[in-house]
């Protein structure tokens, strides 16, 4: 139900992002989704990759401030309104969304989210019978 997201600290300076991506590219790490939250002083890049452990080890050995975070990965159905419906279930359970982003891979619309209560969020997913991804599903996202 959860997958590993790689979070990377980014300084707000020219070329910082490229440097990090180059480290991952060298080792053939594939990125399926990325998002950056930024302030005027720094940013945090959050990425979903095919091999989070390996990517994390690469960054650590290059002295990059990074960590692995568990995030929920929920698959939303194609019809209009299913995104709204999914979020409504969390809201009704009293949960707040800390951050969220989505992407399409392997023909699926995938919602990455972190709520203020992971256990309660899992419970919502189970009860509502939502489709979700596990760590083992990651490589499949990268096959055409």
């Amino acid at each position: 139900m959860t997958i590993h997201q790689l979070s990377v600290f980014l300084e707000n300076k020219y070329g910082a992002l490229c440097e990090i991506l180059a480290l991952l590219a060298e080792e053939n790490i594939r990125i399926v989704a990325a998002t950056i939250a930024d302030t005027s002083e720094f940013g945090i890049m959050r990425i979903i990759v095919d091999d989070p452990q390996k990517a994390y080890t690469i960054l650590k050995s290059n002295n990059v401030s990074a960590n692995l975070t568990d995030v929920l990965a929920v698959v939303t159905a194609p019809p209009a309104g299913s995104f709204a419906q999914t979020l409504t279930h969390f809201t009704k359970a009293g949960l707040s969304i800390e951050y969220m982003y989505s992407f399409v891979a392997g023909g699926k619309a995938i919602l990455i989210l972190r709520t203020n209560n992971r256990e309660a969020a899992r419970e919502v997913i189970r009860r509502q019978n939502m489709e979700y991804l596990c760590e083992s599903d990651l490589p499949a996202l990268f096959t055409e």
Partner: protein
């Protein structure tokens, strides 16, 4: 305007001045020997009443340092019973204990005269209105100028620091003619005046300002004079030597007369600790000879200066010190506040989220000096954005409490700052002494 507050003392012949210094030094050494600190130090170094036979023997007495003051905190330097002390000033602790300076009633009287002498020298009279923008409390620039200006008879306004609009209102409404202000704040004050449509020449009576407590260049002085339409005089003081009034420029604006009836002046090479040749730059070392509660012998000020050769056209015989040229330690003077990098380090190192590498950059933004502290994150990285923001805020808050000024904190990635080797150079000073 060559008039004197204490004509005889200010123009005493060198011969008589040195005779007076010797008389006072003898008394001071005897008095100092009654303090626990000097009693021990004299015994350790075989100094007795008979071993110092002239001013020239002063070098036989070991230096006194700021560490000595810290180590004797709070009362180890007191040469008279506390019952006879009437004031205590203390400066913030950096690596440990703060420092304490005690004053007797006579010490305060003498100090007030010393400051009055300085202010009279730059043209202040009992018809003037003087506004002091120094912080009060423990900071000696507050009460030091207050008592000096009152002694002189000026109408004195203890406005204290901050609230620029209120400062300007006072200056206008109370017909203020003279200010005591730090140079960076003088520039800021002028800026706000112009922004709010106040023309200092047209709308105020300002004529004279006393600037000090932080390094500034001749260009900066000229610029302040031009902006405010005033004459600006450089003043030097330090809490260990009472505070303001130790040395002050006369209307010649060429060097600061250091009052040699109050202190004996030496300039030493901070490496060899030997006196520099006449007129060369070195560290200023001062011996109080007109203070009874807490005499200090050969106190290392860490300020670098030189003695200006020759007589001053103003007629005063007391030596002149050149504009101060920096420090022989790593003290930073910022917005009139003295601070050491170790104070910053002590706070940063309390945060597990931070690494060991950090860099202070001092820069001039507009008319004001800013401090930027870049600090590397440690391995304990959180991907929670709000946690990082809270962290930066908490670091800022703690530093502000310690330093009394607000630095800008920038969290940077691990390994992104230049690696420090040996004794780390943590301070980049890019301030423009404009």
């Amino acid at each position: 305007m060559t008039t004197y507050w204490q004509r005889e003392m200010e123009t005493l012949s060198r011969e008589k001045l040195e005779k007076l210094q010797w008389e006072r030094l003898k008394d001071t050494i005897e008095a100092a020997g009654r303090s626990p600190f000097y009693k021990k130090r004299f015994a350790e170094n075989g100094i007795t009443a008979g071993s110092i036979r002239s001013l020239g023997d002063l070098h036989k007495i070991p230096f006194t340092t700021k560490d000595d003051l810290r180590n004797t905190y709070p009362f180890g330097m007191a040469a008279i019973p506390l019952k006879e002390c009437v004031r205590l000033h203390s400066s913030s602790g950096t690596t440990g204990n703060p420092t304490v300076v005690l004053h007797s009633r006579k010490d305060l009287e003498e100090w007030a005269d010393q400051v009055a002498r300085c202010m009279y020298m730059v043209g202040l009279r009992d018809t003037d209105v003087f506004q002091n923008t120094s912080g009060y409390g423990m900071f000696t620039g507050g009460l030091g100028f207050q008592y000096g200006a009152e002694r002189l008879g000026a109408l004195t306004i203890p406005a204290a620091a901050g609230n620029t609009k209120r400062q300007i209102k006072f200056i206008k409404d109370f017909h203020v003619t003279c200010l005591h202000i730090i140079p960076s704040y003088a520039a800021r004050l002028a800026e706000v005046m112009y922004e709010t449509g106040v023309d200092p020449r047209r709308d105020t009576q300002l004529r004279t300002i006393c600037i000090g407590a932080e390094p500034h260049s001749e260009e900066q002085r000229k610029r302040i004079e031009q902006l405010l339409g005033v004459k600006a005089y450089n003043c030097f003081g330090m809490s260990e030597m009472n505070g303001p009034g130790v040395a002050f420029e006369c209307t010649e604006q060429n060097g600061l007369h250091v009052w040699e009836d109050y202190v004996v002046v030496e300039v030493i090479d901070p490496e060899t600790l030997l006196p520099v040749r006449d007129g060369e730059v070195g560290e200023l070392v001062l011996t109080t000879i007109n203070r009874e509660a807490m005499p200090l012998l050969r106190y290392r000020t860490r300020d670098l200066t030189r003695i200006i050769q020759g007589d001053c056209p103003c007629g005063r015989t007391h030596k002149r010190l050149s504009r101060f040229q920096g420090r022989s330690d790593d003290m930073i003077i910022m917005k009139g506040v003295n601070l050491f990098p170790v104070q910053i380090e002590n706070i940063l190192m309390q945060f597990n989220e931070l690494g060991n590498n950090w860099l202070i950059t001092l820069e001039t933004v507009g008319n004001s000096d800013e401090m930027l502290i870049e600090v590397e994150l440690s391995d304990l990285f959180t991907d929670d954005y709000s946690v990082l923001q809270r962290l930066a805020k908490e670091i800022t808050r703690q530093l502000k409490d310690e330093l009394l000024l607000t630095p800008r904190i920038k969290l940077v990635a691990k390994g992104s700052l230049p690696v420090m080797e040996g004794k780390a150079v943590r301070v980049k000073d890019l301030r423009k002494l404009l």
